[in-house]
Amino acid sequence: MYAQLVKSEGTSREDMSPEEIAFQGRIDRNEKIEPKEWMPEGYRKTLIRQIGQHAHSEIVGQLPEGNWITRAPTLERKQILLAKVQDEAGHGLYLYCAAETLGVSRDELLERLHSGDMKYSSIFNYPTLTWADMGAVGWLVDGAAIMNQVPLQRTSYGPYSRAMIRICKEESFHQRQGYAIMMKMANGTPAQKKMAQDALNRLWYPSLMMFGPSDKDSVHSAQSMAWKIKMNTNDELRQKFVDQTVPQAEYLGLTVPDPDLKWNEEKGGYDFSEPDWDEFYQVLKGNGPCNKERLGARVKAWEDGAWYRDAMVAHAKKKASRRPVAAE
């Protein structure tokens, strides 16, 4: 899940104005809300936070995989990885555009990312240390993202829903390419297999964290779910992810790093250990292994590119002023 702990600002049902009641009625009838239509301020703000955080996650998410583009082991792998990371940038673009329909500019959102006011998914603060991480990120991280994004295709805000439909198509390709790398590694030399297991060991719990804290600790879920900005609870999605992923790990011949993982016949799903939530909150606070590098890289790209963006604007203005006035 690319959006974590998004603060939701709602009004309780008894305090709702007639407009808000009508709005909630539309949501309940599964009508899509479009940019120019009336919406509660809290809905708009919450969406900006969520879509913005999601967009930031896409562009910060370029970095851990971008880390291996220049070291990809074959020409084909290099092409696939480049295409994948380029897709993430494209997803960022769709999402910033969706956010802009809510009256916030891309520059403003970036400013809030750079100042630390807005977050991106905690998973991208973990390092990619070996080539197997390119497999594990696609398999687990994109897998977890899909788990969250598939239901968001039905989210109440039209532009967000449409962006998610496009994104989901590409994400499933990403997950497959990740799993294909894992297959190669798991069936490869002993060193490659070790690399694959090591990647799973390091990325398993951070992937579980992507769904956010347990529902009982998630204070903003209820309002977002009423607005259909959030479609499932964190725990539901996490359970679904584990149930889907464990057999895939078994097929690879890899071991999920959880001694308490066990099939529970009664609930029809796995029992599994919770991630270390203290670690999760530390990463959110900026104390993850790569927080400084990731945000630093984004800020550097933005600052180093300032002269470029200024020049493009200046040239466009000059060009416009040089254009001969059309004859009457």
């Binding site: 370029q62 082991p73 960022g92 490659q192 890289a297 790209a301 470029y308 200024d310 040239h315």
Partner: protein, 281 residues
């Protein structure tokens, strides 16, 4: 010490004529197969090393749209690499693959121009390098679509579609940045001054070029200069940039004598293949 004959010549066509007109389009003799292999490495290595350099920008571009466009160009170039090096491996006939050529040769066996291995610098310097190369690449590929070797003609035709777009885009950007602000103009002029003497290596022919020209496989590089000038000079003028008056050309890349930069590119690019020999990825 006796003066050594210069392996470079600015006019391969001239030499080809002196060659006694052994050209024609008959199957290449063995010695010429070696030259053909060399030529294909040059094509593949230019695309590989420039694609690699461009890919370094992925995630670090000055604007999301530019990040995407630069990655796209890198992707095209790596795709072209697979085609050129694939054909090189086939022509060599020693059972090597395109990946073997990309990942298991050392610097002295690389045949790319020095220009493409230059460090990226700022985004403007990257675009200037791209533009100077694109203009050459475009005219070279256009000529290669008429190659006596149909495999070369086919790869060239496919690549030309992509490179036409690269050139259009890099020309636009060079114009915009040259004509943008005072600072952007200064940066672009510095990039042009810095890269000009490396760009001129593109037009220096050698014995390999003579053989290729004589057999109708590839054009004489010196013969591309006029078309390159006709493309490049108007763009630089519109970008308000001054064309350096130096005619000095750095050379050696095409023959395997590189700058120090290439070794670092290969150390990074080839790491996995070198650290885990024989593994499949």
């Amino acid at each position: 010490m006796p003066s050594l004959p210069d392996i470079m010549t600015p006019n391969a066509e001239e030499l080809a004529k002196q060659d006694g007109g052994k050209g024609g389009h008959a199957p290449l003799p063995d010695a010429d197969q070696d030259a053909f292999f060399e030529f294909l490495l040059r094509m593949g290595d230019n695309a590989l090393i420039l694609g690699h350099r461009n890919s370094e920008w992925c995630g670090h571009g000055p604007q999301l749209e530019e990040d995407i466009a630069m990655s796209n160009i890198a992707l095209d170039l790596i795709g072209q690499t697979a085609l050129w090096l694939g054909l090189a491996a086939e022509v060599e006939g020693k059972g090597r693959s395109a990946d073997d050529l990309a990942y298991l040769r050392d610097v002295w066996d690389f045949r790319n121009l020095l220009l493409v291995e230059r460090p990226n610098g700022d985004f403007g310097a990257t675009l200037m390098r791209q533009f100077l190369f694109d203009a050459f690449h475009f005219h070279l590929l256009q000529a290669l679509t008429g190659s006596a070797d149909p495999r070369v003609a086919e790869i060239a035709a496919k690549s030309l579609k992509e490179v036409s777009y690269h050139l259009e885009r890099s020309a636009e950007q060079v114009i915009a940045l040259g004509d943008g602000t005072e600072e952007s103009r200064k940066r672009m002029q510095a990039a042009l001054d810095d890269q000009w003497s490396y760009a001129l290596e593109m037009f220096l022919g050698d014995a390999t070029d003579v053989t290729m020209a004589a057999s109708g496989i590839a054009p004489d590089p010196a013969g591309l200069r006029q078309a390159w000038d006709d493309t490049v000079l108007p763009v630089l003028a519109e970008a308000t940039l001054d064309v350096p008056d130096s005619t000095f050309a750095h050379k050696g890349g095409k023959q395997g004598t590189h700058t120090e930069h290439l070794g670092y590119i290969l150390a990074e690019m080839q790491f996995l293949q070198r650290a885990y020999p024989g593994a499949e990825w």
